[in-house]
């Protein structure tokens, strides 16, 4: 029988220098890659994996865990200061983080972001440690019907929560979904809207679209504004630092929201396929719905910063739940992790908790300690970006443009992706001019294949009958939530009118 002494030995073993050094270096790389528009946390993990081939499993896993936590946070740095999300998981952080920055509260926004990311990550990991078997069992019950509703729920949230007209949110979302249909059909393999073009056959990758919509369109907007706006932008760029003075008070005021967003993030992260990006959007939507001041969302609300940044880091802990317990990847990062674990000769699944208990304890310890490292390295990362943003505004614009272009090229070593950046940069610029929100478009593109696949496979299972999409308990719950999201505002208005 094992004793606590054995477990403590395993826990303390991660503090050896041969583990600490590569772990910290990987976290530094995560800060850098995450903050670079176009380079995702998945890409950072993919870059790290070949380096872990010849290391003991715990060294490799510590590097992977560390890089993913810092990359997800670092994506929020350009999201807050440049309105360019470093990773897709930072898409929701743009909304209020950048607005706060425009009001001169960027240092507070990023300090709040870092503190919430750390706290959210810690809560996510603690949930992973304590209730992982229960949640994984729940997620395992999901079929195509539930996944269809889940993806639709995440997408609808993004359309409803955007500023201004819900119809324009719907147009943006549908546009993204339409774009996701380009390429080989999932069921029949028929090339749709590819016109014989090889690159179109493999579909439109969301990274060049994201870089174009959020990066190049912002460069175009910055260049074409008047001199007054230029001065404003220059002030924003030179103000990159973290101001922790009132963070404690703000977090104290929002304890319930932090806990709510952490739980949402972890739960969504635990659902296979739904990663940190969906978690951030859903947490943001829920925060808006449960807020006493929902009208402030999108205008620089502190709650609008807290919810997505807490949830996206909490989701990382969640993604490890099905990966560790059942060997099912929670997202693209844990998909790479599973491959790496197999490479180390480990078989993720329920048996790993018995056969490799020391390793599981080490993983949990690394995940918790990474949060403390994140706080320190995140702060240093923000300071490092101060130096970058002190460049003259026009030089920074040139830097963003060339990094965006090469970032897109690096995907497949193809200028086709650079062309996509250009096209979607123009589209993003035009969409903003006519007040069509950009986030639902990118989410539509990402979630489109998941929605279509689950809808069509579900229909095959039921011979074309839609009823099973509604009569299963979890499906019915998600469908009910979806209806509630769309009806909440009109019903609330109706009740308010009746009361008057």
């Amino acid at each position: 029988m094992r004793t606590w002494g054995y477990d403590m030995d395993a826990i303390l073993s991660v503090f050896r220098i041969e583990i600490l050094v590569p772990w910290l270096l990987a976290m530094v790389l995560g800060i850098f890659v995450g903050a670079m528009p176009g380079l995702t946390a998945t890409m950072a993990v993919a870059l790290i994996v070949p380096l872990t081939f010849h290391t003991p499993p715990i060294v490799g896993l510590a590097m992977i865990l560390g890089v993913s936590f810092t990359a997800i946070f670092a994506g929020d740095i350009p999201a807050t200061f440049l309105r360019v999300p470093g990773t897709p998981a930072s898409g929701a952080a743009v909304l209020d983080g950048y607005e706060m920055n425009k009001q001169g509260k960027g240092p507070l926004a990023i300090a709040l972001d870092l503190s919430c990311s750390t706290l959210g990550g810690t809560i996510g990991v603690l949930i992973l440690i304590t209730i992982s078997p229960i949640l994984a069992t729940f997620a395992l019950q999901f079929t195509h019907f539930e996944y269809f509703w889940l993806a639709l729920l995440g997408l609808s949230m993004s359309a409803v929560i955007t500023k201004g007209s819900t119809m324009k949110g719907l147009i943006s979302m549908t546009g993204g979904l339409i774009l996701s249909t380009i390429g080989l059909d999932i069921s029949t393999g028929y090339p749709r809207f590819s016109f014989g073009h090889t690159y179109l056959m493999s579909g439109i990758n969301f990274i060049p679209v994201m870089i174009g919509l959020f990066g190049i369109s912002e460069v175009l907007r910055s260049i074409s504004v008047t001199s007054h706006d230029q001065l404003g932008d220059a002030a924003i760029i030179s103000n990159v630092k973290a101001d922790f003075r009132s963070v404690g008070k703000i977090m104290g005021r929002n304890k319930r929201l932090i806990l709510q967003s952490s739980v949402i993030g972890t739960l969504i992260g635990a659902l296979p396929g739904a990663g940190a990006d969906i978690a951030a959007w859903v947490a943001y939507g829920m925060a808006k719905k449960t807020s006493k001041t929902p009208e402030k969302f999108g205008t620089g609300s502190e709650e609008g910063v807290i919810a997505p940044t807490t949830a996206n880091n909490a989701a990382l802990g969640g993604t490890w739940i099905p990966a560790l317990v059942f060997g099912i990847p929670g997202d693209s990062i844990t998909a790479i992790v599973l491959g790496a674990m197999m490479m180390y000769g480990l078989k993720p699944g329920p048996l790993v908790f018995q056969g490799s208990r020391d390793l599981v304890n080490q993983i949990f310890t690394v995940a918790v300690i990474s949060q403390f490292f994140l706080l320190v390295l995140g702060y240093l990362g923000i300071r490092a970006f101060t130096w970058f943003f002190k460049f003259p505004r026009n030089v920074v614009l040139a830097g963003i443009t060339i990094f965006s272009i090469i970032g897109a090229y690096a995907l497949r070593s193809s200028t086709f992706d650079v062309g996509l950046v250009l096209i979607f940069g123009i589209l993003g610029y035009l969409m903003e001019r006519v007040t069509i929100p950009l986030p639902p478009f990118i989410l539509g593109l990402i979630l489109g294949p998941m929605i279509e696949e689950n809808l069509r496979i579900g229909l095959v299972k039921t011979s074309g009958n839609f009823w099973p999409f509604f009569n299963r308990p979890i499906s019915a719950f998600f469908a009910f939530l979806l209806i509630l999201i769309f009806l909440y505002e009109p019903v609330k208005l109706l009740i308010q009118r009746k009361r008057k």
């Binding site: 028929y190 175009l220 260049i223 074409s224 830097g399 090469i406 650079v418």
Partner: protein
């Protein structure tokens, strides 16, 4: 009673774009293979068609909304298009787009180092950065990007004409 004349605004344009996209999709999807209805297998056209119908509803709504709220939006006329080229800043934005097109066309032929350096020089000069600073920053960015992508991430960047020079 004065008769109000129809004046096109941005909401109408959004509606018309939605309808045009839907029409394009619906004109292409009939050529897709059919699904097998008896086993509930939907064809490749099922989802795009579903989205097209959603877009049609959105388009019709936008046309109606644009007409209803016509006074809230400035009408789009020939002068609107002329104004697109009036401001220097706007012309610079168009020029930057042209630079990116040039970058795409020349990247493989001239190679990473030459194209990136040239792109940055043109970009920075157009934005009014001094010649000396332009050269410094263009060299700095080219070197940093080469170090990161080409060396650290081992991404294959084209050598272009430099390969012929043995560099």
């Amino acid at each position: 009673m004065t008769k109000k004349s129809f004046r096109l605004n941005q909401e109408h344009i959004i509606g018309l774009v939605c309808l045009a996209v839907s029409a394009t999709i619906l004109s292409i999807t009939p050529s897709f293979p059919k699904g097998k209805a008896n086993i509930g297998l939907t064809g490749p056209a099922f989802f795009p068609d579903l989205l097209s119908f959603t877009f049609i509803i959105c388009g019709i709504y936008q046309l109606w909304y644009g007409t209803l709220k016509a006074s809230a939006y400035s009408p789009i006329t020939l002068a609107t298009f002329k104004n697109l080229f009036k401001k220097k800043e706007t012309r610079t934005a168009y020029l930057i787009l042209l630079f990116i097109v040039g970058f795409i066309l020349l990247f493989d032929t001239l190679g990473f180092l030459v194209t990136t350096f040239l792109f940055l020089v043109l970009f920075l000069l157009r934005l009014g950065v001094s010649r000396l600073q332009t050269l410094l920053y263009a060299t700095f960015f080219t070197a940093v990007i080469y170090f990161l992508f080409g060396w650290l991430f081992t991404i294959s960047l084209p050598s272009g004409i430099l390969a012929y020079l043995g560099l």
